[in-house]
């Protein structure tokens, strides 16, 4: 090999490295900009009353998004009540009993399902709940969010259960513990931190969902604690205020975005921390 070609090869190597570094910078640049704006605009609009009062009509300064935060908490909580057990028990079937074609089909469908646009989930919740109940409701919103949660919880729980060594199960079975108790008391328990990690991530994901709530929970300008009535949600408020032409509402939207982003990051950091302590311990 001649010297010249070696120089050529090194030059190509160097320029490829630089190009990929450049690509990485271009990927990180918008991330930095988005964070910068959320933090800058968000902090200037958040004060104690942001967390205690409901939005003011346009033109009046102040106001908060307390009803949206409460509504989101209620609906995400109700969605978890359904989504978490269904996901976990479904995952138990896949790892502890399933092994055949049916289990593969379920696994595959869960992956495909989590790629379906969430607005379609909203439409389905609309036809299944809003139409028969003759009105938009927090219940329909929670239902839509639960549908989104199930496949996520199922797949992450399954991954965690698969990592539990089978010697643990065998030890318990050898002591005469029935399989179902072994599953709940040994298998699930030893995978618990991992399962909780998955639940946190799924919660974070649905807490930021807007599209499935558009025609289920609809949103509400005021306080509402009735599950059969339209309910406010933080992402819905951010959407409505961002597209409105009022400065005051834009400010509220930035504040809401900051709250939502802080919630996301807290949840995913908690998830990561749990995951790490599990691997090292």
């Amino acid at each position: 090999m001649t010297l010249r070609s070696l120089i050529m090869r090194r030059t190509v190597n160097l320029s490829a490295t630089l190009l990929m570094g450049l690509a990485t910078l271009m990927v990180l640049l918008p991330l930095g900009l988005i964070f910068y704006h959320i933090v800058k605009m968000g902090f200037s609009s958040i004060n104690p009353s942001f967390f205690t009062s409901i939005p003011q009509p346009p033109g009046e300064a102040g106001g908060g998004m307390a009803n949206g935060m409460a509504g989101s908490a209620i609906m995400v909580g109700m969605a978890s009540l359904v989504g978490v057990p269904v996901g976990i028990f479904g995952a138990i079937y896949l790892t502890e009993y399933g092994g055949g074609r049916l289990a593969t089909a379920i696994r595959f469908s869960a992956d495909v399902l989590s790629g379906i646009p969430s607005i379609i989930t909203g439409m389905v919740a609309y036809t299944l709940l809003v139409v028969p109940m003759k009105g938009f409701s927090a219940l329909a919103g929670s239902f839509a969010l639960a549908l989104i949660m199930i496949p996520i919880v199922l797949r992450t729980t399954e991954e965690q259960l698969k990592m539990v060594p089978s010697s643990l199960r065998e030890a318990s079975l050898a002591l005469g513990v029935p399989l179902w108790r072994t599953t709940l008391k040994v298998t699930l328990r030893s995978a618990l931190t991992g399962v909780i990690t998955g639940i946190l991530l799924a919660t974070a994901r649905v807490a930021g969902e807007t599209a499935p709530l558009l025609f289920t929970a609809l949103g509400n300008q005021f306080w509402s604690n009735k599950l059969t009535e339209p309910m406010a949600a933080l992402p819905l408020q951010i959407f409505n205020f961002a597209i409105a032409p009022y400065e005051d509402w834009h400010r509220l939207a930035w504040g809401g975005a900051l709250v939502l982003v802080v919630l996301m990051f807290t949840l995913s950091l908690a998830a990561r921390w749990l995951g790490r302590s599990r691997h090292s311990g």
Partner: protein, 311 residues
Amino acid sequence: MDKTAARRNGDSIFRTLTLLFALSILIILLVMTGEMLMESLPSLRKFGWGFITGSDWDAVQGSFAALPYLYGSVVSSILAILLATPLSVGTGLFTTELAPHKVGVVTASLVELLAAIPSVIYGLWGILVMTPWLQTTIEPFLIKHLGFLPFFQGAPYGVSMLAAVFILMIMIIPIITSITKEVLLAVPQSQKEAAVALGATRWEMIRMAVIPYGRSGILGAVILGLGRAIGETMAVTMVIGNTPQISLSLLSPAYTMPSVIANEFAEATSKLHSSALMEIGLILLVVTLVINFMARLLLWSVTRRWKGGAA
């Protein structure tokens, strides 16, 4: 004897219970598809194929055709994928193969944070920060210097196809990057070592050992990103301008399938109107089902072959 029978009962009850929960996945998928199909029937019967070839969307006259929405979805997603793919694959390669370990790990987790941001926040940033900037800086520049091309003609509105492409690109990069990273990490170490042992530079190692192994997995990641882009609703709705027109110019406002559903479904004026929106939803559902099916098939085959487990 009694005890074993009770035990067997407990186990079979538990098994049936978990099976029912697991089946809920298939039930959801079937009910979703069935429900969307049923609700679309009035529109399917009335408009037939004309629904996807015509451009007339008029709630007052009761005539509905969806071509502008299809066009907006396809063009915005494909352009976003074209821009996002090289950047994502470059970032994936940089973080796994080229950067020092710590830099790679930090970059990868920053990119993953980007994936956790809800789409409504991208939309907020898009409509209040990005589109004004496009309107005052980028679009006038494009008109001045590239205005002879049909793609950059017209007035700078800010809200436009271009804005949708940019916001989609930013949103799908983290997805493609993180899956690409997984695929690249699954490339057998021995392959890379063999290339380096033969005197290959880092780039040659990537080209000869990493890319051939990762190709179908990266393709799967890109297709998955395409599915995400086509279904993306909130952020696009906020920046695309929501005007049902087919224009070659990237500077003019457009409309997508999820956006028209988001804007009109809650206030649909007639049965036919909501059925037409349902049919758009059905098209969206079928398209994303096919896309996700292909992507998962590719990714499953890749990771199964190497790790002996599911993706």
